[in-house]
Each structure stands twice: as structure tokens, then as C-alpha cells.
Symmetry: C2
Subunit: 400 residues, 2 copies
């Protein structure tokens, strides 16, 4: 699905961005982004659960324990994963050079990479481009940074939201990239979030984890978890509010707004799934537990048969019920209801014969599939997209 | 991949087969098969683990506890799944009518179905066709039965093997269907096996479970487990040998031969995966446990990115290592080796640069991917096929 993000300029006080071409991408597109906070920021990060972690992820995992940061450099076109000891050295070299040029301690700088696995990082291209990257920093360039982290994405993804904290208007914004290798546990998904609202370190980390769990981790394009997934959140406190803690009256408002930002970014990633023509929101309710609901929703969202059916505008509920049944979630067959959009296709485990009405609604770009397992009261939502010939074409004929 | 099974006539003494058109399939193809043993047979069965079970599966699960059977009727074109109480009645009606016409007690007859989920079984079409189905029985018609159980399969699948037991030559043979909705736990996979070798009830059941676990349960086309999966094995003892038990000197020979038959059928199913152009055998070794090996091999075999890469003749080992890393299996990154066919692409976790040599070999129809996790001594093998535009076309544009 081709579209563009909200085009309006987003400013988060105290943050600057840049995005340039350094020559890593053979296509000649933008491939180097910098996110810079004018002052040290409280920083939280969540990283891939894949046992194979890219060199920059291993480096970030060490730094993030300090909960501090001031700059993040991201390159696309090369993942710096499965690159052995040289890969570790390369990530450190980028880190050190950038810190020197910005006049920051190395521990305040993070490196992130996305792209092809197993090729040496072209370090010199990156270090040569640092002066231009830094010169280019501007509070108005969040869109450029969002463009520079894209791989097979067809549009840059950025979102912002304003909330009142203590009478002052604070901003939460973020950029993300997705497209392929996406599933819960943040497959080749990068997401960087910025806020001027002051939040203490531990509550900031909790807020990020909660937001990621309800959005980026409930998103699947092709059930793949990559070596490079990263979600980071920086809070520079420029708003001047008393730093939020878990007991602050505004903490819930902050976490809700943050979750909303990551959910919007997740929708954009699903919308821009490789070859996708439709976004699919799978809701499972009536589950014995939230974990059961998520299990069933993920099984449906990951089903190639469900995804191809939606692509073909075929309200094939048999594939939905079969995926739910295979998921391991408890269900009561003669209590199951299934809806495609608002049309009830299964009532108490048996088809209603409403396929024609349901098929007519499958022309739209946003599809909902709702399943009631009839086994309890818990629910979960998982985002995905349809599966098309274009996905095969993209992934069969390009090394990504 | 279009091909045909071994065309030579297979006879298993004491078994007769038929396969006819009853009108269930809109395409007008054969859709009704009968397997008949002239004498009561020791019978074992393994059925889908999907919580949603088709009506005939629920019925078979009750009967199989007797370990006896003499006839199996299978229809394709309609799964009789998610059809509520009417579905149960319909399966029983087919069972009762066939038993009456064959002059057998109803408990000696099994019903099996495959095809579209959620549509009422056209019972009258089936019962009207019973006289022709029975008339048509012949020891030479195993191929006809194999054709009649096909859905999106492009060729009938049947295999046989002869072994000497106690100086006499016995036969083990089987038919199967697969194509889509296939993954470990036997997704829309039907497999019926016959032998004239006498085996006692419990050892027969163990032999079937072992054979299925090493073959049909290690086979994935699209990671879907259906509502109808069934593997059954009938032993009529016509060979006249002393019934085999676990302590018989010939028991291992029997189970090995049976496993070989089910493995050959599994290869045919993978080869005939919807839209497939290549069969892929994934071997994971150097695992801490067999379960870890299977986990990693399944993750690789189910990876859409790996399957599309093989289709595109791209030896993209980054996708293989990423899938292994995401599987949860223990691995030691700097000890991992990866081979595509005989070409070593990764040595101790780092690329060897042999992509060109590996790509040249990806023209062949049978591909092996071998991964050494560097974490132990256990191994497992999983069969799959590549993922092509044709899979999308088949599944997006037909209700199956």
C-alpha cells in the first residue's frame, strides 16, 4: 500500500534530526540517520529476542543499563549482523568517531543498523559522512531521519502526539521502519521515540515495555524475528515538568499516549508490509487468558491461508477457525463466533451463510477479523497484512 | 512440481481399493475412495491435534480404541468440519450405510473427509454412490483410491515396500494426500497404510506413531494444521506370520520399512506443496537436544523468507541463521556452520563468501539446507518446499 505519513512538521523541543545518503545503499537512497538530543536524555531500550544479535544490538544492550543517552546513529542497507569480531569493532568505530565529533562521552551514543545480514559494514562510508550528517541536524528533519532508516518500506513512518502535563503541552513522537521480517518480538523493526516530557529512568523503561508489548510486539508481517530489532525512547525533560514516576498523576496519561504513538506506528508498518494491499486487525475475545487470546490472534494473523484469503477477498472463516484451533488456545467449538468486519460468519461454531455480504466488504483497505473463543473473558489484538504475489516477488528476487 | 507416482501396480494381499466420482467436487474429479480388507484387520490411527476436529475425526477417535477395522471410506471436496450436530449425523449416516452394504458391523468401518470447511456434507451423493464404489473394488486399484482423495494435489501419491519376515515376503504400502495446510501435526494430510504382515495391536500403534513422528510430523508446507488430519494403518495378517510384538526379531525391520514408506510419502507431499518448484530438506545438527534440533529445523522450514529465497535461487543464509536464532533453540553463534547443498556458506558464524557457488546449485529440484548449531550432538530433519507466487494464486482465488 503506497501512502505517505502525516506530512505536517513535527518538533519535539530539544531534539534534532538528520538523514542523508552515505553510499551504503546500492539504490543511492538515504541510508544514514542521526537523532540528537541537545541535553542528556533519560533513555530506555528494548531489543530483539533473537539469539543471533547484530553487533550494534550487542553494544546497545551494554550501554542501555545506564539509562542515559544523547545521540543515536542508524544506518540502513547493512545489518552488521553475523559479521563476527570485525562487526563488533565496526560498530564501536562508528560509535567512537561520532562521539568524538559531537563532543560526547562514548557511552551517550548508540549505534543501530538494518539491512542485509552477513556483509561487512562499510565503516569508512559512514565515518566519512559524519560531518555532513551532523551539519544537517535540524529540529525540522524528523521526516528525513524516518526516510533514511527505510529498507523495503515504501513510505517514511513518523507520528506525534501532544498531551498536557501539569498545565504545559508536551510532545511524544517517533519514527519507525518495518516492511519485512516483522512479527511479535520486533522483527527487523526499528522504532525511535522522543519526548520532552521528563520521566524518571525506571518508569520510562516500564512505559516503553508496556507500549511495545501492546503494539510492536503484536504486529506480524511474516512471522520472522530479526537480528536487529530495536525500540528506544529518549526523554530530555525540556518541558520542565517534575519527572514522572509511577505514582505521578500524569504517568498513566503519558503511557497511554506513548502506547498510542507506538500503535499508530505499528499500523503504518502493517499497512506497509511487503507487497501488502490490506491491513488486517485480528481481535480474539472470549479467551480463558490474555496469553490464550494472543496465541490465537497470532496464529490467525500468521496464517498464510488467512492472509491469502483476505487478499483474494474470500471470507474463508474455515481457515480462521482452523488456525485458532491449532493455536493451542482453549476454545469451545459450539460457542465460537467469527466476524469479518461487521458480518457474522460463524455463530456457535457453525457457518451463518453470510459469505456474500462479508465478501462485498473485503474490498476495503482495512479489514477486521474478530473471533470469540467462547472460553472466557480475556482478549487481545494483533495487526497484520495480507499476503500477495508481490511479497514473493520482493523476497524471492532481492537479497535483503 | 508435476510428476507421477511410481506407476507399477501394487498389490497388498487381502486388500481391495476403489476410487470413483460421486459429484461432490465441482471440478467433476474423483472424490470418493474405499479401502477394504477381506478379513478384519488390526488397525491403528493418529489424528489431528487441532482443537477443532472434523466430524469424521471425532467418530474415528471413538472407534480406534478397539484397534480393529475392515473398511475406510474417504471423500474429498468437503471436510465435514465445523458443521455442528448435522455434521456428526452425516458422518454416522455414511458409516451406517456403508457397513450395511458391506455386511459389516458399524464399528469396523471408518469415515474420513477432506476439502472445504464449514459446508454441509452432501450425504445423499455419497450414499447413492456406494453401490458403484463397492462394485469397483479391486486389488489393483490402489492408484484410483489415491486419486480420489486428492484436493489441490497435482499427482496421486502411493508407495510400497516389500520385506522378508520369517522367510516370507510381506508388503507395506500406503496412499496419501497433502498439498496445502501441511505442517507437523499432520495438517490436511491424509495417509492410509496397509500391510499383510501380522502385527499385534499395541506394537502396530507404536510403529505407526514412530513412523508418523519421523516423517509426516516433520513436514511443513505452510505451517497450518488442519481439522481433518489422519494417518491410519491396517494389518490383515494375510502373510500368515506369527503376529509381531515389540520383542519379535522382525519388529525393528517392520518399523523401519513402515517409516521408509511414510517418509517417501512425505517427500511426495512436500514435492507437491501448493505452487512448489523445489523440495527442501532442512537438517539441523549440533543441537543440545533432539527437540531443540526439531525446533530450529521447523523454524527454518517454516520461514517464508527462507522459502522465497530458495525459490529465487538466492543462497540467503542470513535468513536461515535469523530463523534459527529466533527459534528458541540453544546455539553458539561463533560455532554455527551453514551449508546449502554441499556448499559451506557460514563457518563459525561468519560468511565464507561462497554465494556464487551455492547459487549455481539452487537450480536443482531437491535442495538441502544443513545447519550445525554448535551446541551439542543431536539432530533432526524437516521437509518443506519453496514458496512461490503460485501458492498465493491457489490460495487467494479458490475457496479450499
Amino acid at each position: 500500500m503506497k501512502r505517505t505519513s502525516n506530512k505536517k512538521q513535527i518538533i519535539v523541543p530539544g531534539f534534532k534530526f538528520s538523514g542523508i545518503k552515505s553510499g551504503i545503499k546500492e539504490s543511492g537512497g538515504k541510508d544514514l540517520a542521526l537523532i540528537y538530543s541537545e541535553t542528556p536524555a533519560v533513555t530506555a531500550g528494548v531489543f530483539t529476542t533473537n539469539s543471533i544479535k547484530a553487533a550494534p544490538v550487542k553494544l546497545a544492550l551494554k550501554k542501555i543499563t545506564s539509562n542515559k543517552g544523547q545521540a543515536i546513529i542508524i544506518n540502513s542497507g547493512n545489518a552488521n549482523a553475523c559479521t563476527g569480531k570485525q562487526g563488533d569493532k565496526d560498530a564501536k568505530k562508528v560509535n567512537t568517531d561520532l562521539a568524538k565529533k559531537l563532543g560526547l562521552p562514548i557511552e551517550m551514543v548508540y549505534v543501530s543498523s538494518t539491512g542485509i545480514i552477513g556483509r561487512p559494514l562499510p565503516v569508512t562510508m559512514i565515518t566519512n559522512a559524519l560531518p555532513e550528517l551532523i551539519d544537517d541536524l535540524s529540529p525540522l528533519s524528523m521526516d528525513k531521519a524516518a526516510s533514511a532508516i527505510m529498507t523495503t518500506d515504501t513510505f517514511p513512518k513518523f507520528v506525534s502526539k501532544r498531551i498536557k502535563i501539569d498545565g504545559k503541552t508536551g510532545t511524544i513522537a517517533g519514527i519507525a521502519k518495518g516492511a519485512g521480517m516483522i512479527r511479535p518480538d520486533m522483527a527487523t523493526m526499528l522504532c525511535f521515540l522522543f519526548t520532552d516530557i521528563a520521566v524518571s529512568a525506571k518508569p520510562l523503561d516500564s512505559a516503553l515495555r508496556k507500549a511495545v508489548n501492546m503494539s510492536l510486539n503484536r504486529l506480524t508481517v511474516d512471522n520472522e524475528t530479526s537480528t536487529n530489532d530495536t525500540a528506544m525512547l529518549m526523554s530530555n525533560g525540556r518541558l520542565g515538568n517534575t519527572p514522572l514516576t509511577k505514582n505521578s498523576p500524569y504517568y498513566k496519561k503519558f503511557t497511554d499516549a506513548l502506547s498510542d504513538v507506538t500503535y499508530q506506528l505499528s499500523r503504518m508498518i502493517a499497512e506497509d508490509g511487503e507487497g501488502a494491499t490490506k491491513i488486517i486487525e485480528v481481535t480474539v475475545k472470549g479467551a480463558r487468558s490474555e496469553s490464550d487470546a494472543e496465541k490465537a490472534a497470532s496464529a490467525i494473523a500468521n496464517s498464510m491461508l488467512v492472509k491469502t484469503a483476505v487478499y483474494g477477498k474470500d471470507p474463508n472463516w474455515g481457515r480462521v477457525i482452523s488456525a485458532a484451533g491449532a493455536s493451542g488456545a482453549k476454545l469451545v467449538e459450539n460457542k465460537i463466533d467469527i466476524f469479518f468486519n461487521k458480518v457474522k460468519l460463524v455463530s456457535n461454531g457453525v457457518g451463518t451463510g453470510m459469505e456474500k455480504a462479508a465478501a462485498a466488504l473485503l474490498d476495503s483497505k482495512a479489514i477486521t477479523i474478530t473471533v470469540d473463543l467462547g472460553a472466557g473473558k480475556q482478549s487481545a489484538k494483533v495487526l497484520t497484512c495480507d499476503l500477495t504475489e508481490k511479497y514473493i516477488e520482493i523476497n524471492a528476487h532481492y537479497t535483503t
